[in-house]
């Protein structure tokens, strides 16, 4: 699959819209060339390097490497040849106007698109050296390792304790009741929610405020010790104060997790992320250091978007 599909998808995208691709490549190549990053970020056009497992094993700081990722919803193509390397312990922000494919890309990273019948993904996505679209890969294990936080807080209609304990329980992460208690406490503490809820762990999670619910969802995601956390506009349903708390939390979580966050708010992307990818109409237009993207975008469309002229 990996051998065949990229070429076909390339052909398709090349026919459909040749210009953006060329533009997208050029700045990235330059960025990488100028980059002082010790990890030596590879260029997106350099296919053989990214698809090789040996190289990934050597390159410790690349957590997720995707090459030529195309997504189709039925006959409609939603993503065109996306090549992104996501670095360990970084916050990577995906920005772009509505319908640009940033959420679609995010959902590729833990194969959440599998549940959509008509969705089809081609290309390679390598997480920790493993091609996650390999038929041998266990999706359940993948989702345990690549956790996800959704746009709308969606706690289970169960108690706060049960919300956290559910994941560890189905994956057999806790050996005893006290072990589970510890996982719950640690997860809540890491998500900065422990102080607020420690005396009402057995009340329904749906009774919390929106911001608390979202932090509960983050705690639920980290309870199963993922190495990557995907966040799909986690603050879009929250007020500014709750947003600030969640953003602080993201900054703290970066120490231990690799975070990919989709956001509509450019200020938020600028505040929380170290690297930013700008998507436009299904194409990855520009990807690089957040400061560089916001201060000196290479692409005209990025420039237009961050200055508020489109999107």
């Amino acid at each position: 699959m990996a051998d065949v599909t990229p070429s076909t998808s390339k052909k398709k995208s090349g026919k459909a819209k040749p210009a953006p691709k060329g533009k997208a490549k050029a700045p990235e190549a330059k960025t990488n060339g100028n980059s002082t990053d010790a990890t030596g970020l590879r260029t997106k056009t350099d296919r053989p390097l990214t698809s090789s497992r040996q190289d990934l094993a050597l390159d410790q700081s690349t957590k997720i490497s995707s090459s030529d990722v195309c997504v189709f919803y039925g006959d409609k193509q939603a993503l065109f040849d996306v090549n992104v390397d996501i670095l360990s312990n970084h916050v990577t922000a995906l920005i772009g106007p509505s319908g640009c494919g940033k959420s679609t890309y995010l959902r590729c990273l833990n194969r959440m698109n599998d549940v959509i019948d008509i969705a089809r993904v081609t290309g390679n996505i390598i997480v920790d050296g493993i091609d996650i679209y390999d038929p041998d890969v266990d999706v359940v294990e993948l989702r345990a390792r690549v956790g996800m936080v959704f746009q709308k807080p969606n706690p289970f209609p169960k108690s706060i304790y049960e919300n956290i304990a559910y994941g560890p329980r189905i994956h057999g992460l806790a050996s005893s009741k006290s072990d589970m208690d510890e996982i719950v406490e640690n997860s809540l503490k890491r998500a900065g929610l422990w102080k607020e809820v420690h005396d009402r762990l057995h009340e329904p999670g749906t009774g919390l405020s929106g911001g608390q619910q979202q932090r509960l969802c983050i705690a639920r995601a980290i309870a199963i010790s993922p190495s990557v956390i995907l966040m799909d506009e986690p603050c879009s349903a929250l007020d500014p104060i709750a947003t600030a708390i969640v953003e602080e939390l993201i900054e703290e979580l970066r120490q231990n997790y690799t975070i990919v966050i989709v956001t509509h708010s450019m200020q938020q992307a600028a505040r929380v992320s170290q690297r930013t990818a700008y998507f436009h109409l299904g194409y990855l237009v520009e990807y690089g250091e957040t400061d560089q993207i916001f201060q000196a975008p290479k692409d005209e469309r990025t420039q237009n978007y961050i200055t508020g002229r489109i999107g």
């Binding site: 833990n110 959440m112 549940v115 019948d117 359940v140 294990e141 993948l142 989702r143 345990a144 956790g147 996800m148 936080v149 959704f150 709308k152 969606n154 706690p155 289970f156 209609p157 559910y166 994941g167 189905i170 994956h171 329904p204 749906t206 969802c217 639920r220 995601a221 309870a223 199963i224």
Partner: protein
């Protein structure tokens, strides 16, 4: 559209006068339409409520008497010579019961009178006594007091359902009488009503030599037919007294010259018409009871306080019977219960499994679309068709036991299955996708998502759908008729899932078909009990929905 029209600027902004007469009229009309819609809705609801109340009140007023049984207390001597201690079941309880009853009426001696007398007691009374003795064999040889039911007409008489006397004349006969009165053809003669008839003394029917030997009845019939040309020939007998012809004969014998002439004559009318004219109503003793003597016997029982009216536990503990006073619903309730259990087990498991597969696993293609369309169609198939299917397949091909609740339940589950599948699918669809995503996001597998999250949230909807489906099944008659569940099962010993049985709706059906007066109220009572069960089931559905409903 032309190019110039495309590029021309928009027209001037139009102003609208909201206070103009036409605008006010429009507002008024809008309000009127709102009100009409409201009234139509209110009217429909009101009509529905009124009709429901009429139905219920009619059911209650007819059915309530069936919840009481009238019994007569007997002093029974369980004669050991008639009932052996070794084999009490073979005892002559008929004699014991009849003797005890006859003791109340020492002056009734003739055989035919006694036969009338025993008809006051239920024909099943000896069996009631037998059952009582079989349960308590230590009573053999003792004097016991035991109450046995009255037979149906007396039971109904005691409850006031049927009257002692009924109108002697039909509505049509009363109208004839009314017409006679209006034509002034009636008069009072010596305290008796007489009809003033114009009679032609036909010379062909009466001989001048022997006027007494003439046939005068046809002349009267002719005279009546002259008044009511289109009435049936029997009305002469209804209207005129049996001796009316004698009156004519007497007149002609006294004056033979009248032969061949037409004369006006006052002839006596029948007893019933006489009563009708003099008192305004003609009543006779209710012919249902036979001899009028029975009323005296019945009254004497009542005077001696031997009659008691109690809550009829028998209605719930007896099996069906030919005698309304003995007929109960136990067999039907048990049959319905077993059928519903079978139906529930089959359709709940299969229905939820099918719905989960179709909703969560099945690919969306033509084949699954076809299945979906067919499930929806099945829900609309008339239930009698399922009965035929059960008859052909379960009884015909597989040779399963006829009339059994097992087959009944299987047939009903065919009917319930689509309802449950549709309700379950709706409930599964109603679970917000965010919950599925959340579960998938923490690495739950497909079956974990379904069993841990989706099913619990869908459960209230599933249970509601299931109970509504079962309530439908409980009230279903046609398929059960076809597989023979309208059987007459007078024994409660043979209750079981494979034994022949009947069900509540089919019991109602067969009782409604029975001519005995007692079955009229039993039918209504059975309907009330069926409605009671339906009410309980629907209340359970509401309770379960509220209990399991969780907010998200």
């Amino acid at each position: 559209m032309s190019d110039t029209a495309l590029h021309s600027p928009p027209g001037p902004i139009r102003s609208h006068d909201w206070g103009s007469a036409s605008a006010r009229k429009r507002v008024k009309r809008r309000y009127m339409h709102d009100r009409i819609l409201q009234w139509v809705g209110l009217g429909s609801i009101g009509t529905g409520v009124v009709l429901l109340l009429i139905l219920l009140s009619s059911l209650v007023s007819t059915g309530l008497p069936a919840f009481q049984t009238t019994k007569v207390a007997l002093d029974l001597f369980i004669d050991p010579s008639l009932v052996s201690r070794e084999d009490p079941g073979k005892g002559n309880f008929r004699k014991i019961t009849r003797d005890a009853f006859a003791k109340y009426f020492p002056d009734v001696t003739s055989r035919s009178d006694k036969r009338q007398l025993y008809k006051i007691m239920s024909s099943g009374a000896p069996f009631n006594v037998r059952k009582h003795i079989l349960k308590n064999p230590e009573l053999i040889g003792q004097n016991i007091s035991y109450a046995v039911p009255l037979s149906d007409p007396y039971d109904q008489l005691h409850k006031g359902v049927i009257p002692r006397q009924i109108e002697a004349l039909s509505r049509g006969q009363q109208q004839l009488g009314e017409q006679l009165k209006q034509r002034r053809l009636l008069s009072l003669e010596d305290g008796k009503t007489a009809a003033n008839l114009t009679i032609f003394i036909n010379p062909e029917l009466v001989n001048a030599e022997d006027p007494a030997g003439g046939d005068f009845a046809p002349m009267l019939a002719e005279a009546i037919r002259a008044i009511f040309p289109r009435a049936s020939p029997t009305i002469t007998r209804d209207i005129l007294a049996p001796d009316a012809a004698d009156t004519v004969k007497q007149t002609v014998v006294e004056a033979p010259a009248l032969i061949g002439k037409t004369l006006q004559l006052k002839v006596p009318v029948s007893q019933n018409f006489d009563n009708l004219f003099r008192t305004g109503e003609a009543m006779i003793d209710n012919p249902r009871f036979g001899d009028p003597k029975v009323f005296a016997w019945y009254d004497s029982l009542a005077e001696r306080n031997l009659l008691q009216s109690n809550f009829s536990i028998e209605l719930f503990t007896n099996a069906d019977s030919r005698f309304p006073e003995q007929a109960g619903l136990l067999g039907a309730i048990a049959g319905s219960f077993f059928s519903l259990v079978v139906c529930f087990l089959l359709s709940f498991v299969a229905g939820i499994a099918a719905a989960i597969y179709l909703e969560e696993f099945a690919p969306k293609n033509k084949f699954t679309d076809l299945i979906e369309v067919n499930i929806n169609n099945l829900a609309a198939v008339p239930s009698v068709v399922f009965g035929l299917l059960g008859l052909a397949v379960f009884l015909g091909t597989f040779g399963m036991p006829r009339s059994s609740p097992l087959v009944g339940g299987m047939v009903l589950s065919l009917m319930t299955l689509p309802t449950i599948i549709i309700a379950t699918r709706a409930a599964l669809q109603a679970v917000p996708p965010s919950i599925r995503e959340a579960a998938l996001g923490v690495g739950a597998s497909r079956h974990q998502v379904i069993t841990h999250h989706v099913l619990p949230l869908a459960m209230p909807g599933i249970l509601t759908g299931t109970i509504i489906g079962l309530a439908q099944a409980l009230g279903e008659t046609a398929p059960l008729l076809l597989i023979g569940m309208n059987a007459f099962i007078p024994s409660i010993e043979s209750i079981g899932i494979l034994e022949p049985a009947t069900a509540l709706p089919t019991q109602i059906f067969s009782w409604a078909d029975s001519p005995e007066r007692g079955f009229v109220s039993r039918t209504s009572a059975a309907i009330l009990i069926l409605l009671g069960f339906l009410f309980i089931m629907n209340a359970t559905a509401i309770y379960l929905r509220q209990k399991f409903e969780r907010r998200w």
